[in-house]
Symmetry: C2
Subunit: 313 residues, 2 copies
């Protein structure tokens, strides 16, 4: 049973008044530079600074009263951790966030700031999963995966839904791709509304597992990577891979230098803070400038969580 446009619409109704309806910005600088007309859907201005709050809220709000009372658990040191913590706080239920002991203290503090309990684990996937299992067993909390979950995907798709309803006549919509939750939700929303609109994705060359998976026709897991786009290190799941295979027109891979340059340029020219993962989409559009020349492109700006004391320039 796959996610449909109706699920995305239901999520949008559920999230009304819960999430920010984020603004859509334009930039003559980028329009000139890319030779396209770009519409930036600013999920960096979403609560917790990332689109992740949409999916997390959509999942938490669908729990039965009984399940909700036992709380939620996830393992993440990224934006999903904060998103789930805030979604749980807003429903008034407990949240346990399993985080590796080497996670930055600022991230632990943010999660605690939303009232969640941080559960430390060793910095390995095995330890993360085992620790989350233990929390589920001990507390009865429901595990909420960062992207391999229909409710998360439908929630993530509401950003593209809002964008498509705000800007009429888009030729394409582009998002970054890590685990594929945002991209999957975008596919469902965009093609549910208009199958003619191309769905594009951007990925670092150093973490190009999604591009390689689509090319190979089989899911290739992500290996270790040093990309600065820390939100895009995760592997697709079978669920997201199946949706991407059906809907994605092209995944464009981009260099670290291009990510860094566009991140800084967006800060300088658009006055919004974007994290490295977001900058991939602009690098991708520039790389494929001639292919999409003259197009109207919806650009999902996925998040703005960065450490201001460690900027990549």
């Amino acid at each position: 049973m796959s996610v449909t446009l109706d699920d995305v619409r239901a999520a949008a109704a559920r999230l009304e008044g819960v999430v920010h309806e984020t603004p859509v910005l334009t930039s003559s600088y980028y329009d000139d530079r890319l030779g396209m007309r770009c519409f930036f859907k600013c999920e960096n201005l979403q609560k917790v600074g990332a689109f992740k709050f949409r999916g997390a809220s959509n999942a938490v709000l669908q729990l039965s009263e009984e399940d909700a009372a036992n709380g939620v658990v996830t393992h993440s040191s990224g934006n999903h951790a904060q998103a789930l913590a805030l979604a749980a706080e807003q429903r008034g239920i407990p949240a346990w966030i399993v985080m590796p002991t080497d996670a930055p203290s600022v991230k632990r503090a943010a999660v605690k700031g939303y009232g969640a309990t941080v559960v430390p684990c060793a910095p390995t996937l095995a330890s993360r999963e085992a620790t989350a299992e233990r929390v589920m067993h001990e507390t009865g909390a429901t595990f909420i995966h960062p992207y391999d979950d229909d409710r998360i995907i439908a929630g993530a798709g509401t950003a593209a839904l809002e964008l498509m309803e705000t800007v009429i006549g888009l030729d394409a919509v582009i998002t970054p791709v890590g685990g594929g939750g945002l991209l999957s939700g975008t596919c469902i929303a965009v093609h549910g509304l208009d199958p003619e609109v191309m769905v594009l994705a951007a990925e670092p060359e150093l973490a190009d597992d999604a591009a390689r998976s689509l090319e190979a026709g089989e899911l290739i897991p992500a290996g270790p990577t040093t990309t600065i786009a820390d939100g895009l290190k995760t592997s697709l799941s079978a669920r997201t891979f199946a949706i991407l295979q059906q809907h994605v027109h092209e995944i464009v891979t981009v260099t670290e230098d291009a990510i860094r340059e566009h991140m800084r340029t967006v800060w300088e020219r658009m006055k919004i803070i974007i994290e490295p993962s977001c900058a991939t989409v602009l690098a991708a559009l520039e790389k494929r400038r001639s292919a999409y020349a003259g197009s109207s492109v919806g650009v999902i700006i996925s998040g703005g969580n960065v450490d201001l004391d460690n900027l990549p320039w």
Copy 2:
């Protein structure tokens, strides 16, 4: 003949499609911290990254064909320089920007990027004024002052006009004050629409000439200052002082530490880039937390032009 609400409305009509209608953001973090409901009118997301583009465009668009053909001139190393350069470029007329030889090269480059001619001068007010005079004499260009001009004030007021039309039921509106152009335009717009809404202003303690002028009942010029709020170093003019005397409820002065802290906090929590001048308004609201507790406050975020290689933390 003073600026009226009709002038602001005429400016808004003139600027439609020329300026960005900037978004109004909210932040639960700041609402909680300040104990108010804040509505951030994001002029940092305006073209050239500052509200200044509204006034500059409003002035340039009102020039007769004959005057326009001779171009415009100003002396500024701040946001007005870029704003006037872009406004002139958009009308297709020449612009000369007098800038001191010690102005940062990035600012010169920005002005040149909009097609204006940078005219160097010695770093003194006398040299700036004499150089601008010479350019006017040689070219016939019209001098456009950064704030001592009714067209600039009316244009600046359109930000508050949009805000008041978007958010119903504000108790107060706050802006920073330097030369008083933004604050004057805000006074006219806000009190033209609703005389009951309080107009507040924020100023660095290190550049508190506007606060002292209001208190003394006479215009006290700004002295030299080391405030990091570089947009707020200028003195009021007789024109802006008269408007402030009539309309401003309170000018709150704030410390450099508070400016620095709020600047960084807005970057971290709201994911938008604001310059130090903007941060004064949040520091002011926090200082006067108890006086305005429970209020709905419109906050004009005036600009976002900062040097990313020289951040104040």
